[in-house]
Amino acid sequence: MFDFIRGPLLWVAFIVFFGGLVFQLLQFFTLTRKKERLFLSVHGKTKGRWSIESMRQWFESLLTTIIGTHPMMTILTLIFHCCLFVTPIFLLAHNILLDESWGISIWSFSESTTDILTVVLLVCGALFLLRRIFVRRVRAITTASDYLILFIIVAPFLSGYMAYHQWFHYKAILFAHILAGEVMLIVAPFTKLGHMLFFFLYRFLIGSEYSFGQGTRSW
């Protein structure tokens, strides 16, 4: 069983994850067409590319995003997403496995650094959970799947932390950790986690008042 989740299932997880994202990307390009530019984005610059004036304009336009309207939430979600992304990639244990299996060696944080990042992510996850339970407007649109997805995201971090600190039965926890990581990778392209790709497509490629990019495509 252990060999199965370390071998074939790991391949399945990676293939579904990357294949799913590529599939979604291709679908997006077949569903949208290039159009004349209808919108002039509030984030577009009118002055020269790197002039002081253009930088000022750009920073000012950022205040029309959630940076200006929800500063606390911006900080929380920024920390959450940075940890979410950076921790597993530059994790020593992962990269040793990567090196052993495929001979790819990438730079890693020290173990104490990732340990802290993991705790920070778990704290952010807990704050999201509290928000979901106690803030009325978040509760109003929360469904069971929101709790499930939050759990799917947090589970690899919680189990990874428990494995590192050798809590309970190490082998069992590691088993749970790998399985949790694989589940997360498999569901990501097809659930709301797909926003990791579609954020860029919606905000940069689709034309709208709020577009960060040229916004030359439309549905």
């Binding site: 569903l31 959630i66 469904t143 926003h195």
Partner: protein
């Protein structure tokens, strides 16, 4: 509307609307992370004591979202219930801001189209005194 009350719902027609737009709409519905950040950008939410029922995402999820969930198998009662949501609780002003880029007004607009295709839309006759449209 009284004059449409007896007409049966054309579910095939509703399904056709849902089917034709699903590439975009199902993605928007699934990529909404239910974070409620869009709330304050809607003046109707702000103007109703921050009642969550006026939140952009709430209106889209509970109108078009439900239509997709039920795969178009809805009755007139259901359409009458979402009627206020898509016509009165949202005026399609396009002011709502979503950090991920979920285009809420386009979802509510499709909800309207589907309602109208079944004769469910507001009229301002004096006879229609069931609810305030302002």
């Amino acid at each position: 509307m009284a004059e449409h009350g007896e007409k049966p719902i054309d579910r095939e027609r509703i399904k056709a609307f849902l089917e034709r737009n699903k590439g975009k709409m199902k993605r928007l519905l699934s990529h909404c992370v239910h974070c409620s950040i869009c709330a304050e950008s809607c003046f109707l939410y702000m103007g109703h004591d921050k009642d969550p029922r006026y939140m952009p995402s709430y209106k889209a999820i509970n109108s078009l979202g439900k239509l997709y969930k039920k795969k178009g198998k809805v009755d007139r009662d259901f359409l009458e219930r979402i009627k206020t949501m898509v016509w009165r609780d949202c005026v399609l002003c396009r002011r709502c801001y979503c950090p991920i880029g979920v285009d809420i007004p386009s979802m509510i607009a499709l909800g309207r189209t589907i309602c109208r295709s079944q004769g469910v839309y507001p009229n301002f006759d004096e006879s229609d005194q069931k609810e305030s449209w302002l």
